[in-house]
Amino acid sequence: MNIIITGVGGQGTVSLGHLIGNIAHNSGLRMIAAETHGMSQRGGSVIFHLKIGDERSPLIAKGQADVIISGEPMEALRVLEFLKPNGVVITNTHTILSPVAVQLGMNYPDILDIYRVIEEWPAKLYTLNTGEIIRRLDIPRGENLVLLGVFMKLGIFQVSADTVEQMIINRWPKFAENNLKALHAGYDVLSEQITN
């Protein structure tokens, strides 16, 4: 399985990638991953490639990703060419326009146009506002764990929920309770979107 994780520098995209990569590793799967970002500053596009299986090259070829997980809608569109037809896109709905784009007088496109292009790819699109969910849960952070929760609940990532939860607890023991809340909120989001 090939997964693209993307977002805007500062959103923790690479950490989420490492977490999912290690989940695969701890579940006994063969994995390989690569991050592509330019310089280490905030605010640029970040793409993380994660391959589970027998391929050796660290980058996913265009048209070969099963899933895109994105922290920002425009970034989901930016990597859409990596997605297989009928693949899955999970994206946070919070939009971010680069300050450089602002300087050049560009506006953020109509978000519905972005969704339409993704759906017409064709792709199955799941959208959620992770920031709002975190605020509703009244916890300080965990937006990426909400995304992870949605991804887990899709049922295409063949790893056990126990492994994932145990890893999250071991990784950040002090924040275990909040982090699990965020993960579970992700599970719920997906259930809601499927029933809708």
Partner: protein
């Protein structure tokens, strides 16, 4: 199921583990993407086993590692692609004199120039210098080859290269560790006739080294520093590929079901020539898959001529790979399909209309970055002086982007000051400004100041001192030590420049008005003026606040705002924008509370509040 002894590491971490487990006891490096994490890992994990510290530049790091290895301590040195240029002077002489124990030179190349100013293929330096070069293609090989490089170097008493590329260095994958080796420590033995490279000794060294190279060449032919495998029946094509390229080759050839025998040299120089020639008796068509220069291709072209091989070489001229940029899966598949007429569906692309929805998102200076404040003040103060900005390498190079546009040139580490010196001399009608960071100042800025003062040039040197080597992820430098526990000594940029006879002032660039005033003052003075704009990197301000559990301030926009954009336009802070009602708006998630924007507002519309 998973084997219990495998772990996941980044390529650079695996290299560090391999060096340490191979017996390295002294390591030096200068940070640079994609090589930085090797030294970071050595410092974090292996300080008890070795002396491992950053050096002030790559030549210094190379010379340190060389001396350690000449004195009998197994050593390693790490740098990025272009860093090797800085270290070339000692390198070329070391290549002739060799060392007495082990010395591994790790170089991280950057095909695709993700974070470099050129795309040099340092495999050529291995050929140029005659120093053997290993090239790993997986996380496991990063570890294994680093270990092997130490032993190889010990055996022949010469430096050995380990070349990685961005894809391998920043790849994350699984590996199995082996028990560390413990090499004997030899007592120091003088050998000035070898290690004092005056011409008479150098000539002897060259003859000696030519002999060693012939021995190495024979040794590697037997030692089999290569892998081979078959795809399909393996009888139609011979494929030669190495390093990162070999992983893309594996996937693309398997995808198309080529009948190929694949030869992957792990040591790319000296090349496994005997094995190659032997294999050529069974194959007519040889495909070469390699990123950047035709290094392997030229090597086998020579071998084919010398050995009268009856083969067809299919490589760069046939468009299998390009001399430009990184190999990716889809490009390699497309090239193979085109040349071999294979059925292949070109992956679907977004239409131009769909792509128009994508707005640019380059990396930008962080919210609250002191460089942004510096640039606003500098531009304001010099707006009537026709400034020419010679910029340098660091986060501040992003001043190249709007709204700052504060870079006319950027060439190499430390180049800003010499370039600004020549501009000052040759174009006196302009104000010549050099901009350089603190780490880059120590790397190679000092020699630029020496030269500028010596020549009596009339220029303004702005040292953007954020007390960190920020671009590569916050390493220490001589005036920014991070760990009070270690034995590093603090140096002073101002005392250094004063000592050389420059006019020097230090100011916090967050003091907007005072900074402008100092620039005005500097303009009126002849000679070399060094203005040090000192304020910590915003990421460290945030980090520090977290550690000390203090809340950073936040700004709020009040009703006085009329949407004039005086705070937004010159600053370009990612946290500030105009909302739908054409009123300034702050994103509290992004704002780091530097409060600089408040200084730009002349309607008192920006208030500082607590979080």
């Amino acid at each position: 199921m998973k084997k219990t002894n495998t772990i996941t590491l980044l390529g650079n971490e695996a290299i560090a583990y391999g060096l340490a487990d191979g017996g390295v006891r002294f390591a030096s490096a200068y940070p640079g993407t994609p090589s930085t994490e090797i030294m970071e890992t050595l410092i974090k994990k292996f300080k008890t086993r070795m002396n491992a510290d950053w050096a002030s530049n790559e030549a210094v790091a190379m010379e340190e590692a060389a001396a350690a290895a000449i004195a009998g301590t197994d050593s390693a040195v790490m740098m990025k692609s272009v860093g090797l240029n800085v270290a070339m002077d000692p390198l070329m002489t070391l290549a002739l004199m060799g060392v007495t124990s082990a010395m591994v030179i790790v170089v991280g190349d950057d095909p695709g120039m993700h974070s470099s100013q050129n795309e040099q293929d340092n495999r050529n330096i291995s050929k140029f210098s005659g120093i053997p070069m290993f090239e790993p293609s997986s996380i496991q090989e990063c570890y294994d080859f680093a270990r092997e490089a130490v032993q190889f170097s010990r055996k022949f008493k010469i430096p050995v290269f380990l070349r990685s590329v961005t894809r391998i260095s920043h790849e994350m994958g699984q590996l199995e560790l082996s028990p560390p080796v413990v090499n004997d420590i030899e007592p120091y033995e003088r050998d000035p006739s070898r290690f004092v490279s005056i011409p008479g000794n150098a000539r002897k060294n060259k003859s000696r080294m030519m002999k060693i190279q012939r021995e190495i060449d024979e040794y590697v032919q037997e030692k089999k520093y290569y892998r081979e495998y078959k795809i399909g029946k393996g009888n139609e094509y011979l494929v030669i590929t190495s390093g990162s390229s070999s992983t893309f080759a594996h996937d693309a050839l398997s995808y198309f079901g080529f009948n190929a025998h694949v030869l992957v040299p792990g040591l790319i120089n000296p090349f496994p020539s005997n094995r190659f020639v032997e294999l050529c008796s069974d194959y007519e068509n040889v495909i070469v898959i390699e990123e950047l220069d035709p290094f392997i291709e030229e090597k086998i072209t020579i071998l084919a001529y010398k050995n009268k091989l009856n083969i067809n070489i299919i490589g760069k001229d046939q468009g299998i790979t390009s001399i430009e940029g990184e190999i990716t899966g889809e490009i390699l598949m497309e090239n193979l399909a085109r040349y071999f007429n294979l059925e292949h569906e070109i992956p679907k692309t977004l239409t131009a209309d769909q792509k128009a929805l994508l707005k640019i998102r380059p990396p930008v200076l962080c919210p609250g970055c002191p460089h942004r404040s510096s640039y606003v003040a500098i531009k304001k103060a010099l707006r009537k002086d026709q400034p020419i900005y010679s910029n340098d390498i660091g986060c501040y190079a992003l001043g190249f982007l709007p709204p700052h546009n504060t870079a006319d040139t950027l060439v190499a580490m430390g180049a800003s000051i010499p370039m600004a010196t020549a501009i000052a001399i040759s174009r006196p009608e302009h104000t010549s400004v050099a901009m350089i960071g603190d780490s880059t100042f120590w790397h190679s800025g000092v020699s630029g100041i020496t030269n500028a003062v010596w020549k009596g040039a009339n220029l303004l040197v702005i040292v953007l001192d954020n007390l960190a080597t920020a671009m590569t992820g916050d390493q220490p430098n001589p005036s920014a030590n991070k760990d009070p526990e270690d034995s590093l000594v603090d140096l002073s940029i101002e005392e250094t420049c004063k000592g050389m006879g420059a006019w020097v002032r230090v100011i916090n660039p967050m003091e907007y008005k005072d900074t402008q005033r100092l620039i005005d003052e500097a303009k009126a003075i002849k000679g070399v003026k060094v203005l040090i704009l000192r304020e910590p990197c915003a990421l460290n301000v945030v980090k520090e606040a977290k550690i000390k559990k203090v809340k950073l301030p936040l700004i709020a926009i009040n009703d006085n705002c009329n949407g004039c954009k005086l705070c937004i336009t010159p600053l370009g802070c990612p946290a500030l924008s105009l909302n739908e009602d054409n009123i300034a708006e702050v994103d509290p998630e992004l704002c780091n509370g530097c409060t600089f924007c408040q200084k730009l507002c002349n309607r008192d519309a920006i208030e500082v509040v607590s979080r």
